[in-house]
């Protein structure tokens, strides 16, 4: 579809509608996908990393069996805006808070944390209380994770609190 527009010289001409649409406010981000603790399965983390790349983000994958301290260090050195923690081991109630506290202690308050893997719904509230902004379980669509990141980038741009050290009750979904 094409629509008439006026060019710089004031003359009317036709342009494709697609060319006239404003570019989306969505900003691509640097995202660390990490596997905390003793958990040897990372198919899920790799699928997530791949689909975030396909969504235009720069994704740094840490590999398996990282300690909370190592993950904080990686987020710092890579200057990532977002951290995704994938855990299937059942130790999320220890490992995820350890990472969140580590980020806050190192002054990385603006980093946005989300989690995924096998995390029973009974545990969601306590992780959200730690500052985790979204939790994605089995069956979550990768498009939904991209929508979450889009919402995150809009909040960052409009300076609404969303980081791990920023007080906010906001959560996805």
């Amino acid at each position: 579809m094409s629509i008439p527009v006026r060019n710089a010289a004031g003359l009317m001409h036709h342009r494709l509608l697609e060319d006239c649409l404003p570019t989306p406010s969505f900003v691509e981000m640097r995202i660390v996908i990490a596997k905390p603790g003793l958990d040897g399965h990372d198919r899920g983390a790799k699928v997530i990393a791949r689909s975030l790349r396909d969504g235009g983000h720069e994704v740094i994958y840490t590999g398996l069996r990282k300690t909370p301290e190592e993950i904080v260090r990686i987020v710092m050195d890579e200057d990532a805006a977002v951290l995704g923690l994938s855990t299937l081991s059942g130790a999320h109630d220890v490992l995820v808070p350890a990472v969140c506290n580590g980020l806050r202690e190192e002054g990385l308050a603006e980093v946005v944390v989300f989690a995924g893997g096998i995390i029973p719904s009974d545990d969601h509230d306590s992780l959200h209380d730690q500052g985790v902004r979204a939790i994605f379980g089995p069956g979550a669509r990768t498009s939904e994770i991209l929508e979450f990141l889009e919402a995150v980038s809009r909040r960052i741009e409009s300076r609404q609190p969303v980081g791990i050290g920023e007080n906010s009750g906001w959560r996805w979904g």
Partner: protein, 288 residues
């Protein structure tokens, strides 16, 4: 994004050893910012080679040897961005072994953002900042496929080319021009059969060219054999004048590329070229 410190304070903090602020500075340079750190004499090593030959694993070995000797090692690991989405999957650091703990290693993954020339223009300032912040060994890793990626290693003062057995593409490496840039060649995976033949075929290939020939080392990032000798070679590498000139040429070409691709009139000129209203020569002339 909220920036806690202004640039001079950020730099002061990084120079006093704050990693987080150094990391922020590298991001800022990548986004086009500049920081005045004064003249530096950084020690740099470029590592390149075809995908899958074990560059990152070998760098992991070198890092632990350096750290044992009291060096502080920084790595800039470059991976290509996806041409479709513009995103990138940066996973070099996961192959570098035990690098994520301890204060003596700093690894930053960089995406080419479909414009390796653009990355080239920020590499020198990044290296300068890392050196000023006390990183005594700076490694730049790029995958050795594509001329513009290879050019990135020319920003290092010594270049290590890594290859492996059963690849059969010594000729490919020669075609890409990387052989001439290499000060040292390592054939990795010496624990696998045929690695000795690979080393022999590389030796015979470089034996045909004039001038000083780079030494060829057989190493194994898997079991560590040959790594000490390779490290000695890297440490004592003088960096030849001839290759210095070649490096300068590659650096100049990548900055030139970057200027051209960043030119404000680029799209206008491309449109005009597309409709045939100007010639290629006129296009280049108008972008000067």
């Amino acid at each position: 994004m909220a920036m806690g410190l202004n640039d001079p304070d950020l730099l002061k903090s990084a120079l006093s050893g704050n990693r987080r602020d150094l990391s922020k500075i590298l991001t800022s340079i990548e986004d086009g910012g500049s920081f005045e750190v004064g003249a530096q004499d950084p020690w740099t090593l470029g590592v390149t080679g075809p995908p899958g030959v074990g560059k990152s694993s070998l760098i992991g070995r070198l890092i632990s040897s350096w750290v044992d000797r009291g060096e502080r090692v920084a790595v800039l690991a470059v991976d290509p961005s996806s041409p479709n989405s513009g995103g990138a999957l940066l996973a070099d650091r996961l192959r570098m072994g035990d690098i994520d703990s301890g204060d003596s290693v700093f690894v930053r993954s960089l995406a080419t953002r479909n414009h390796p020339g653009g990355l080239a223009s920020c590499l020198s300032p990044m290296i300068g900042c890392l050196a000023a912040c006390g990183w005594s060994r700076i490694v730049i890793e790029t995958v050795g496929s594509g001329q513009s990626e290879i050019r990135i290693v020319a920003f290092a003062d010594r270049v290590l080319l890594v290859d492996g057995p059963d690849r059969g593409d010594v000729v490919q490496a020669e075609k890409a021009g990387i052989m001439e840039l290499a000060d040292i060649i390592a054939i990795n995976k010496s624990d696998l059969p045929n690695s000795k033949q690979a080393a022999d075929s590389v030796r015979s290939a470089i034996g045909l060219s004039h001038g000083s020939q780079p030494p060829v080392h057989l190493v194994s990032a898997h079991d560590g054999s040959g790594v000490d000798k390779l490290l000695e070679e890297i440490e004592s590498c003088p960096g030849s004048h001839l290759r210095g000139r070649l490096r300068a040429r590659e650096r100049m070409l990548s900055v030139w590329d970057s200027r051209l691709l960043d030119h404000p009139k680029l799209n206008e000129v491309l449109d005009a070229l597309g409709t045939g209203s100007i010639t290629l020569d006129e296009a280049v002339e108008s972008l000067k």
